[in-house]
């Protein structure tokens, strides 16, 4: 299909945007930064086009459904939300160094979707349980949450790297990373957005499970892991808002939280349960 061909090219486009963001940081040239933003924007436009095309193509196949329902489509959408959120952050902060830490996550998601032999890019019709509008709400909210957590993760890594910066070191690379307090604040904001969307994602999934299986919570491994993730970020928010934790501890919690996100999303598929779509 044309859509998956375009999407496999977009993978390389995101690799180039990562490459340019990195060059910008190492060489300290604005031109590379401009190129990076341009390439990312172009990739995002193509990415959006391909997702819409996939939707259209599903109608041409007589299946007709939103492209949000298997592992391939979810990875593609995950990368899309990361890039969208990143572009908004770049636009608001006017800082491009964040790109070097976020675009690789989108690139890896795209590469995994496009080139992993276990993942089929074919448009399959929906089994009865997946035919629900709650599914669309569930997937969209979950992945906006995951994307915000991915950004928080990238920002936390940057925060820890920035700690290595010393004035006498004169490292260009570290010098271009924003001030620690800004990273800390941005990362917190991303966690807040992620937490709201993760909550929405869990709730919509729960409403959907209730209409499909007759129970809104069954302690299925995916449900449980989403709760674990939720608890970790709840702990992070409480430690910051009530205990006033900042800096290293928070960055560490945010990194642990993102590993929980990854396990909820991908790791759980290797455990038995309702969501084990990756096994097919």
């Amino acid at each position: 299909m044309l859509n998956s061909m375009i999407l496999s090219y977009i993978t390389f486009v995101y690799f180039f945007s990562f490459f340019f963001y990195l060059l910008m940081m190492v060489m300290h040239r604005e031109n590379f930064g401009r190129a990076a933003t341009f390439v990312t924007l172009a990739g995002f436009a193509g990415h959006t086009f391909a997702i819409v095309l996939r939707w259209v193509e599903s109608y041409q196949l007589g299946i007709g459904r939103a492209p949000l329902s298997n592992l391939y489509e979810s990875l593609i959408f995950f990368a899309w939300t990361i890039i969208l959120l990143y572009l908004i952050v770049e636009w608001r902060t006017k800082n491009q160094s964040i790109g070097a830490f976020v675009t690789p996550i989108a690139f890896l998601a795209m590469a995994y979707a496009s080139f992993s032999p276990g993942i089929s890019s074919r448009i399959q019709p929906l089994v009865p349980a997946l035919k629900s509008n709650w599914l669309i709400a569930h997937v969209i909210t979950c992945f906006f949450g995951y994307a915000a957590f991915a950004l928080a993760f990238g920002l936390s890594i940057m925060f820890l790297l920035k700690k290595l910066d010393r004035p006498q070191r004169k490292s260009r690379f570290l010098g271009i990373i924003p001030e620690s307090w800004l990273l800390d604040d941005l990362s917190y904001q991303m966690v807040v957005i992620g937490f709201l969307f993760l909550t929405l994602g869990i709730l919509t999934g729960s409403v959907w499970a209730h209409s499909a299986w007759g129970a809104y919570w069954q302690w299925d491994p995916k449900e449980t892991w989403s709760l674990i993730t939720w608890l970790v970020y709840a702990a992070l928010l409480h430690s910051r808002l009530v205990r006033g934790w900042k800096g290293n501890k928070l960055a560490a919690l945010s990194i642990i939280g993102f590993f929980c996100v990854l396990f909820t999303y991908l790791g759980v598929n290797y455990l038995p349960g309702l969501h084990s779509y990756a096994q097919s």
Partner: protein, 474 residues
Amino acid sequence: MVQKESEKNTQPFSLWKAFSSIKLTLFLLILLAVASIFGTLIPQQESAMRFAENLSPTLVRILESMQLFDMYHSWWFRFIIGALAVNLIVCSLDRFPSSLKRFRSTPGADREKPFEDLPEDRSFPVKTAFEPASNLVGDLLKKNYGKVERKEKGEATFYYVQKGRFTHFGVYLVHLSVLLILIGGIAGSLFGFQAFVNIPEGEESDRVFLRKEREAKPLPFAVRCEKFTVEFYPNGTPKEYRSDLVFLANGEAVFEGPLRVNHPITFQGITFYQSTYGTLPGNQVRLSLKREGDGQNSFVDAQVNKPFALPGEEGEAAVTAVRSDFMRMGPAVQLEIRPKSGEDVQLWVFKNHEMIEQRFPGIFERFPRLNPASFKPYTFFVETMDSKFYTGLQVSRDPGVPLVWAGFVSIIIGLFVTFFLSHRMIWVRLSRRKKGANIALAGMSSKNAVGLEREIGKLMTQLQKEVEKLPSSQ
């Protein structure tokens, strides 16, 4: 710090104090997260049995004593959730008075403090007469914020507006929602039930089987499955499962409708979900009869328990039972033969007769009751057996669901209010100058200082624009 610690130690231990600790919250949140991980690694409930078969008996006993095979319903897991709930309630009650105070606080409109260390770009001179400018400020603030407080103090006029006072309560709404969801869950497990029932096409059931208690539960009505349909896509993926159900009260059809996945039906407070399906042998069997000496086999379409005459007038026979898998050797029917003379004969006829003969040579000779040729001079064969579907329904009643749904809605509102809205207070001070006045703006916010700065900036541009329209004083 050291002194503080020793102070704490001398205080008597207070349960309230222990549970109002945020450290306890963090500990419990992480403990609950870590405990939950175990349940995803150790197979739970039904799958636990298969898993336990591969373990040593001692290990199984240890795991069992910790209730690790049904961990999420164990006393200790519930204890952690309970402790977290108590912690949440105590913390909320402990902090609520201070939020109420902040909600009610009415900082004086003429406060000078916010204007200390005010950046220069937060004030601008006005060349018009003082009174019109002051009225204009008052009107604009009233338009933007509703309620405006005004106070004169010396040579200056102060205005004070605020918005988002209620945001101090957002966090309590979130906590209340969590409790609401927990209460809904408890209500569901106390007053609701989770059951299932399999109903063959054309049949009805007035009882369901409780999953947890493993016992039958009578319903105040009966459910009949008229028909079950499964549709497939061309590639073989299932497209739709549908049961046409009829609900009967006192034997009369009261309600009927199709039940599909994702489209449950609720009848008299009990909800039915399409869960699984399967096939059962029907009651139509096509038999082939070989009579020794006759050239051709004769065929009989038999219905269960409806006797038919044997073609050679030796007597009557009837199919008395149909099994989709008899003695693990595949589908079979039971025949009862009543000859005109002699004793009745009962025998089983397998559909896969030849295959069984190959796998177990001589089996039919040894067991006359399994031998399709034990009633002379006939040999019976099963040509076709019709099958029918049964539908598998999940049946549940959960009075806690409305509470859970209410909790879902309010937790989202609460999170939004807590994280994205803030209590903003803005003061505007007009100081008299020889010619006109000086207008200064200052503010305070419960959070999101950047947002406040932006709001003040916007308000200032708006004020500047409006003031310029006034005629300047000489």
